[in-house]
């Protein structure tokens, strides 16, 4: 039950960023600072398109935790099935 809730919620929060990304960002320019600085004007044509790189990075950052959670789920299911099986065999009593 808990697992179902967790999975549903994680899947739900995957839909929201897709919706958010569909909106276009608009921010007023900020004053310059050390290190990261907000852009003053929109940059002209770039050599490498940044969008596919950003999307690839986000896909990776989502995919890897999902795959890991799935692998834990699978292993946990296997172990719990085995525990149930062994407990049953112990309860069945010694037959030597």
């Amino acid at each position: 039950m808990r697992k179902a809730i967790a999975f549903a919620l994680l899947t739900l929060c995957l839909c929201l960023p897709i919706a958010a990304a569909a909106q276009s960002p608009s921010q007023p320019p900020k004053p310059a600072q050390d290190g990261f600085v907000p852009i003053d004007q929109l940059a002209p044509k770039e050599e490498l398109p940044a969008a596919p790189l950003v999307m690839a990075a986000y896909v990776i950052a989502w995919l890897i935790p999902f795959v890991y959670v799935w692998s834990i789920w699978r292993r946990l299911d296997k172990v719990e099935a085995e525990i149930a099986d062994v407990t049953r065999r112990i309860a069945a009593g010694p037959r030597r």
Binding site: R2, I5, A6, L9, L10, L12, C13, L16, P17, A20, A21, Q23, P25, Q27, P29, K30, A32, Q33, D34, G35, F36, V37, P38, I39, D40, L42, A43, E46, L48, A50, A51, L53, V54, A56, A57, Y58, I60, A61, I64, P65, Y68, V69, I72, R75, L76, V79, E80, E82, I83, V86, T87, R89, I90, P94
Partner: protein, 218 residues
């Protein structure tokens, strides 16, 4: 503790849902433009990885000193998470780097130190998998050495190379960039805790199973 699980999942899911909205709303960085937005996932995954390194190292010390199985379960769980979060960081870094600096891998101090640390904990997992019985204590020693090595690795790699933004960047971020960053960081740290509890549960279940098999023998 188990009762906190569902609310924790809800909270972390909410953080992960809000973060992209804030990230999309954050202003573009002047020199790097859109690709800098990778930072909002790249930095938090490194934070999560380092947190996992210290959890694993400390749990290993406790295990070596006291022999408690719970400590060992936590150590192996966080070692796996070092590898998982480290992988996210190692893959998103080059995607940012190729655009921002023109190279996939630039041997900069932080990235290289992180790679070395990732390798240490990957070797921890290899030892546990292929070392046969009794490798838990040995692996704990590896985790301890890995954790204590962090300053040395960084010191040596830093002295060897100087590209990564200076450490002062994060503290001087404007609020519009700081907020999504710290939110993402909390989301990732929360995810780390969730995954830790799940993975530790798997480990303790395995221990219970082993005990049951032994009881079956009798």
């Amino acid at each position: 503790m188990a009762k906190l699980f569902t609310p924790a999942v809800v909270l972390i899911a909410a953080l992960f849902a809000i973060a992209p909205v804030l990230i999309v709303g954050a202003p573009y960085e002047s020199t790097m433009g859109l690709v800098q937005k990778i930072f909002y996932f790249h930095f938090p995954s490194w934070m999560a990885m380092f947190a996992a390194v210290f959890v694993s190292g400390v749990a290993s010390v406790v295990f070596l000193a006291t022999g408690r199985k719970g400590a060992d379960a936590l150590a192996v769980a966080s070692a796996e998470l070092v590898v998982v979060f480290g992988l996210i960081g190692l893959l998103t870094g080059p995607l940012w780097g190729i655009k921002a600096w023109g190279v996939w891998w630039s041997w900069d101090p932080r990235g290289t130190s992180a790679l070395v640390l990732w390798l240490v904990f990957q070797s921890y997992l290899l030892l546990r998998r292929f070392g046969g019985p009794g490798s838990e204590r040995l692996a704990a020693a590896v985790a301890l050495f890995g954790m204590c090595n962090v300053p040395f690795v960084y010191w040596s790699v830093n002295l060897w190379r100087t590209l990564h933004p200076k450490t002062t960047v994060v503290s001087s971020l404007p609020v519009s960039m700081g907020l999504p960053l710290w939110l993402s960081t909390f989301a990732f740290l929360g995810l780390l805790l969730l995954l830790l509890s799940l993975r530790t549960r798997l480990e303790t279940s395995r221990t219970r199973l082993d005990a049951l098999y032994l009881a079956l023998e009798d």
